[in-house]
């Protein structure tokens, strides 16, 4: 028995299974979260019918998608058409093998080329989109997949350059080392190089085809974009892949820039009460759920919420055990940060209109890449010149970033013709 658990294949398999299940759940409820957050921002309630407060909506949605007819267009390239969503999903999920969820054993694997592996694997997901759009043998999906390909390739450059400046600071490709380095420095990378963080975040939104960069699936122009012809189960695979990618981009942003699993101010010992945040959060969640239950007039709902509250309380009790608390610490903070970044993604969707394609390319090539490059050069220069010191790095980066951003925006502003006319 002991041997079985020690064997790397067995242990990895168990970890993979756990991550896969957890991720599926997270993604399902991410959709719920998106719908709820959007709804609250838009003066409505969002899903309310399936389960109390629509909490069972993701399950209902999943069932519905599974039960729907899986249509393959008559003149589609059947094999490619069936394969494409799987490519997207596999690429999206496999990347999570290299994400460190916490210190110590909280990773499936920790390759020393971690970030390269992640960039490589996640770039495979584009094939699902390109081939799916092509195999549908239809105009709108094809345009959608072409746009998607062009967009992804363009923004990967900016994201890659932004990541490189983090690698310079960490002096390693391994994600675990990158996080540890942030602990050593005492600050998160976002405070060393905020410019790279902003560039990475924008490029990340673009890579996941989210507002305001959701051109590949812009429904007012291309109906559904690359997945127009997909339905049922295969559509749900694309859907899952997109949201998994969102989680991935957020997780990477957190690991690279926001200190990964680190507690805020992890270098300050006297802030130890923050270590009990998981317990507080669970108790708070339980109290909120209880309050919701008390508000409800439906008996079933009250019981459901009561059960949820009890569950929260029990979990809080378990987490309160010192040993559990210390081991759960990293995962908790990572989750909180990832959720915060995901919230930003949803927020953008509620706020921004959509870019036009040429504007999207302008933003990618003429704004983001110069800014990212300047940040990279400045970071490298400062590392050689002043070494690993926070204030010079931050100041130089901010200065260079603002300067470059100003230059590129001034340069790009004149290309719009908008003559003022004599009024009649």
């Amino acid at each position: 028995m002991q041997f079985l658990f020690r064997h790397p294949l067995i242990l990895s398999s168990i970890k993979i299974l756990v991550v896969f299940m957890a991720l599926s759940g997270v993604v399902a409820y991410l959709v719920y979260m998106e719908r709820k957050v959007l709804a609250f921002m838009q003066a409505r309630l969002g899903p309310m019918r399936v389960g109390p407060w629509g909490l069972l909506q993701p399950i209902a949605d999943g069932l519905k998608l599974l039960l729907k007819e899986d249509i393959v267009p008559a003149r589609a390239d059947k094999a490619v058409f069936l394969l494409s969503p799987v490519i997207s999903l596999v690429a999206a999920f496999s990347v999570f093998a290299a994400i460190p969820y916490g210190p110590g054993g909280w990773t499936i694997t920790n390759p020393n080329i971690g970030i390269l592996l992640i960039l490589g694997l996640s770039s495979l997901g584009i094939y699902g989109i390109i081939l799916g759009g092509w195999a549908s043998n239809s105009h709108y999906p094809l345009i959608g997949s072409l746009r998607s390909a062009a967009q992804l390739v363009s923004y990967e450059v900016a994201a890659g350059i932004a990541v490189v400046s983090v690698l310079l600071i960490a002096n390693s490709l391994s994600l675990v080392v990158i996080v540890n380095r942030q602990q050593q420095m005492g600050v998160w990378n976002v405070f060393l190089n905020p410019v790279a963080f902003v560039v990475y975040l924008i490029a990340g939104v673009a890579e996941t085809n989210r507002n305001p960069f959701d051109l590949p699936e812009a429904e007012s122009e291309l109906t559904g974009g690359f997945h127009t012809e997909y339905s049922g189960f295969r559509f749900s695979l694309y859907f899952l892949a997109e949201y998994t990618n969102m989680v991935l981009i957020s997780s990477l942003a957190v690991v690279l820039f926001l200190g990964g699993w680190l507690r805020p101010f992890s270098s300050l010992r006297w802030l130890w009460p923050l270590d009990y945040a998981p317990v507080v959060a669970l108790v708070g969640a339980g109290a909120f759920v209880l309050w919701l239950g008390l508000q409800s007039r439906v008996r079933g709902e009250r019981m459901f919420f009561a059960a949820l509250a009890i569950l929260c309380a029990a979990l809080a009790g378990v987490v309160g055990i010192p040993l559990v608390l210390s081991s759960i610490q990293g995962v908790f903070w990572l989750t909180v940060k990832v959720l915060a970044v995901l919230y930003a993604f949803i927020w953008y969707r509620a706020t921004f209109p959509r870019y036009r394609f040429d504007q999207l390319m302008t933003v990618g090539w003429r704004r983001l890449i110069p800014v990212a490059l300047s940040s990279l050069i400045v970071t490298a220069t400062m590392l050689i010149w002043t070494g690993y010191r926070v204030v010079p790095l931050l100041a130089a980066n901010l200065l260079a970033g603002i300067l470059t951003a100003w230059m590129v925006s001034v340069r790009g502003a004149g290309n719009r013709s908008r003559p003022t006319r004599e009024a009649i």
Binding site: D77, V80, P111, N112, I113, L116, L117, L119, G120, L121, S123, L124, I126, Y127, I130, L131, G133, W134, L142, S145, L146, A149, A150, L152, V153, E156, S172, L173, S174, V177
Partner: protein, 170 residues
């Protein structure tokens, strides 16, 4: 047979098979897909050889970058016309000769290689600094000049390509 050996055999078989598929498919997009598979299996072989940096570069550059652009262009051109064209051109005799020549060269190399001592084992990886750093050192210190020259060449090609498309659109 050890695990690495088995993996190697599977990967190389996949690479060979998909390479054949690349040149025999009528549909260019299918060819491209098989090419991606071939590149991936070659990447896998790198990984077996513990050259994980090379593996990552293979995936990011060839599979994730170049092949995407490749497909992008393929989707823009008229696939239907390509499918109706003859698959092989008439110079197949020359091609056959070249292939035989290459095969002979390979066999000769292998035969000669038997006598030589085995290739030195790849540097052990897994722990930092690993071979990524070694590659970096080699590229930017030992082979600095060739790398810079090559990048200059690529830059020239890129500028040329941009200028050519600009003229086209006038």
């Amino acid at each position: 047979m050890t695990l690495p050996q088995a993996t190697f055999l599977i990967l190389s078989a996949t690479a060979l098979l998909s390479s054949v598929m690349v040149i025999t498919r009528r549909n260019v997009v299918h060819s491209a897909i098989w090419l991606i598979v071939a590149l991936l299996s070659v990447g896998g072989i790198y990984l077996v050889l513990q050259a994980e940096f090379l593996f990552a570069v293979q995936i990011i550059l060839y599979v994730g970058g170049i092949m995407v652009l490749f497909l992008f262009v393929l989707l823009l051109v008229n696939v239907d016309v390509a499918m109706r064209q003859a698959l092989f051109s008439r110079q197949w005799g020359v091609a056959l000769g070249t292939a035989i020549l290459l095969l002979a060269e390979l066999v000769y190399g292998l035969w000669r290689g038997q006598a030589q001592p085995a290739i030195a084992a790849a540097p052990a990886s897994g722990v930092s600094p690993g071979n990524t750093q070694a590659v970096g050192m080699a590229l930017y210190q030992k082979y600095m000049l060739p790398v810079e020259l090559a990048s200059l060449l690529l830059l020239v090609a890129m500028v040329g390509a941009v200028i050519m498309t600009q003229k086209r659109f006038e």
